[in-house]
């Protein structure tokens, strides 16, 4: 029997993570469901958004960080909703203050509300500013291999192309361009956005992605906690299939049972 390959942990900017599934915290019914789904996903890295505090709101109201504690999870603040490099940089600095200096961020600068497609011009500018300001930048981007490389050159610690539009659940619409990004990348490549169900996540991992970040696929499943568990298994299965290296495809059949010794040769 050949030797089992020992997997190495996902390493982003020197941080090592046991799980290759990263999850968001949006779109859940309540904090209880958020906490249960995040726990069932097995994720180490958990994304959240930064927004103006509702003033006059009951000060005792629970806070997301009471449920998803920075002691238990590696928090990944995002810049969702930002349409300019300037707003994204401000949001990251607010997040760093919010988390007492924690400098790992998910940069996303959007192009328009209809597609939520990344504005790569603003994204490149924000990445450069943030890296120079000491942030470890995991960057959401289009599946353009040239842009992915440019973001890597600017010092981003992970490149995260979309599989399809944010929240669409359309899976990996362009595996060919994702493969081009994977072939040339020297930092971890994670699929961020577009995952719809477990097979989408498994496919991304089978292709060699370092991880997958998802939110809607879990939160908008009829049973989010069960889907979170399904995603955990899909990520593990896809990763092991990648490491095991799949059989070659062939156009002809190849019997698994020997021809020799049949009772009616």
């Amino acid at each position: 029997m050949s030797q089992l390959i020992e997997d190495t942990p996902l390493t982003v900017a020197g941080r090592r993570f046991h799980s290759r599934l990263l999850v968001g915290t949006g779109k859940y019914r309540d904090f209880d469901e958020t906490a249960a789904a995040v726990a069932a996903s097995g994720a180490d890295v958990v994304t959240f958004a930064v927004r103006r505090t509702n003033l006059g709101q009951d000060a005792a109201a629970p806070n997301l960080l009471d449920v998803i504690s920075p002691e238990r999870y590696t928090l990944l603040p995002n810049t969702a909703g930002c349409y300019t490099a300037k707003d994204a940089v401000r949001t990251c600095r607010l997040a760093r203050e919010l988390l007492d200096g924690h400098n790992l961020v998910k940069l996303e600068v959007l192009g328009d509300e209809h597609t939520l497609y990344p504005n790569v011009v603003e994204t490149l500018a924000a990445a450069e500013t943030l890296v120079n300001d000491g942030f470890d930048v995991m960057v959401y981007t289009s599946d353009d291999p040239i842009v992915a490389k440019e973001l890597e050159r600017r010092g981003c610690c992970a490149v995260m192309p979309l599989g399809s539009l944010i929240g669409s659940g359309n899976g990996l619409l362009n595996p060919a361009t994702l493969r081009l990004i994977l072939e040339q990348a020297e930092v971890p490549v994670l699929v961020d956005a577009g995952i719809g169900t477990a097979s989408d996540a498994a496919l991304a991992m089978e292709m060699g992605c370092a991880g997958v970040l998802m939110n809607s696929a879990i939160a908008h499943a009829r049973q989010p906690v069960m889907m979170a568990g399904a995603m955990r298994k899909a990520i593990e299965a896809g990763r092991e299939a990648f490491l095991a290296e799949r059989m070659p495809r062939r156009d002809s059949a190849s019997p698994s049972s020997p021809f020799a010794g049949r009772i009616n040769p």
Partner: protein, 66 residues
């Protein structure tokens, strides 16, 4: 004295420091981050940071997102 707080006009009737504003809003001890005129003010400096007429203050916190 009036400031812009999270994009809305806000009247200050108290000692105009950031720490006092946070207390008055019932946010003392809560996990929030504050920007004054687009610059971060670290938590350790809230008590010493005085506000002036027309200052723009942003107070943010973590919410669910992906």
């Amino acid at each position: 004295m009036q400031i812009q707080l999270n994009g809305e006009p806000h009247q200050l009737d108290h000692d105009p420091t950031l720490a006092r504003l946070v207390e008055a809003l019932g946010l003392g001890g809560r996990r929030v981050a504050i920007e004054l005129n687009e610059e971060i003010v670290p938590r350790s400096q809230h008590a010493q940071t005085a506000l002036a007429e027309g200052d723009r203050v942003e107070i943010v916190h973590a919410i669910g997102g992906g």
